[in-house]
């Protein structure tokens, strides 16, 4: 049953507000964010609806939506929001909460996007920096789509657009230590 948040304490709203540093209750549902957002058309629930869902405490529905995974953090919405709500921060808060509470969408696009970010973070952990060609190759392998963008390869490689080799940085060791400490910090803060 949906309660209006009057009878029960809306802990989800509180968690989102705390994490995002913005007050979702300020939203008066004008929809300017939706018309501004370049990817709202791809979202299960565009930003305006997400705001209302948070107010209603629809936690699981928010976690399982693709919306926060499609948000590109371009900040066009927050720049135009008449209530000055930091919409990308709200999307980020939902995303982090969903990760923390182990919610995983089975949506193929969401899985791809998550995989991309995992590979990216792995890459930094290993080398301290990111290497585009390796990144693309690894994504294709891990999504079992070996031929994605292969038609771009001859031109891009021949022209030197995407360099083949890469440098190793001294920073890699420091980064690996940082990853460990950051992870520990995240646990301690909980």
């Amino acid at each position: 049953m949906i309660t209006l948040g009057l009878l029960e304490k809306n802990t989800f709203l509180e968690a989102v507000n705390k994490k995002s540093g913005t007050n979702v209750l300020e939203c008066y549902q004008c929809g300017k964010c939706v018309s501004t957002c370049p990817v709202s058309g791809y979202m299960d629930f565009p930003p305006r609806e997400i705001m209302q869902m948070i107010k209603l405490g629809l936690k699981e529905e928010c976690y399982m939506a693709n919306s926060m995974w499609f948000c590109l953090t371009c900040s066009a919405c927050s720049g135009r929001c008449p209530r000055e709500i930091d919409v990308p921060a709200v999307m980020e808060a939902i995303r982090h909460l969903a990760i923390e509470e182990n919610y995983r969408s089975e949506n193929k696009k969401v899985k791809d996007i998550r995989k991309f970010h995992d590979i990216f973070l792995d890459m930094i952990k290993r080398y301290g920096r990111n290497y585009e060609l390796r990144m693309m190759a690894e994504f294709n392998i891990r999504t079992r789509n070996l031929f994605k963008d292969m038609h771009l390869a001859p031109k891009a490689l021949l022209k030197g657009k995407i360099p083949i080799g890469h440098e190793s940085t001294k920073s890699a060791k420091a980064i690996q230590k940082m990853y460990k400490l950051a992870e520990k910090l995240e646990k301690d803060m909980k």
Partner: protein, 314 residues
Amino acid sequence: MNKLTYFPGCSAHGTSEEFDHTLKLVMQTLDVQMEEIPDWNCCGATSAHVMTENLALALPMRNLVLAERLENKTMGIACASCYSRMKGTKKHLDENPELARRINTTVIDEGEYKGTIDIKSMLQYCYEEIGLETIKSKVTKSLSGLKVACYYGCLLTRPKDITLFDSPEYPMSMDLLMEALGAKAMEFDFKTECCGASFSISNTEVVESLSGKILEVAKESGAHLIVVACPLCQSNLDMRQPDIEKHTGRKFDLPVMYFTQLMALAFGYPEKELKLPKHIVSVEAALKHIGEAIPEPEKVKKIKKAVEAESEVE
């Protein structure tokens, strides 16, 4: 001579080598000495902040600590995404000293974070610190005749409380910079629309749709080429352009150049220094327009005629 701490970002050593290279040439001409942060690391780009909280702050913080050691007043950042991450992190840390102290423990080997460095994008640095007059004085080969659409993307001007630079809706700094080089900056309504950014690999059809719209509006503006200041915008608009053309059935043929490439050209560097062969959409035809006279637009002609006719009646 001015000194500037420089953070190139990963793509400067990869897909946007031409940006890095021409930036260095241009800064030489402008008498700015760039000191690259030794042993810098990736800022975490989109992925760190999407997936984690602490790492998203720790990665940029390490660079900030290393940058502070160089003791220059300002750090210039080439990539728009790095710029946004580093400046956003600095703001967040400076507003939450307790958090800053905690995150600092993850990079304490590099030193203490002080929060003393001023962060600017390279476009911002050219516009605010060097100034259009100085840039104009260095032009030896005017780009007159070249019509350009200046594309800023999301992160150079947004969110405005982080970037503190230009307008988030209709910025003009790059347009004015191009005019200082002699080029004509066209009216272009999609200056700050998103190109699809990091979805380039994981969600390509979104990038093709968003970048396709930008290309379409840029084409309609009458520009010969698009000017950018962000490596990811460049690769989305340039490398994905043939696919976008195939899927939309429209021919754009719009080269996408970094503002520093055009600055280097106007400062008299030979074309081979611009690394033009790296472009997927060929630049040569567009650059042939340099030196051409731009005829007055029909609209302006009509208005002028009407005004003349009116004054004759009087």
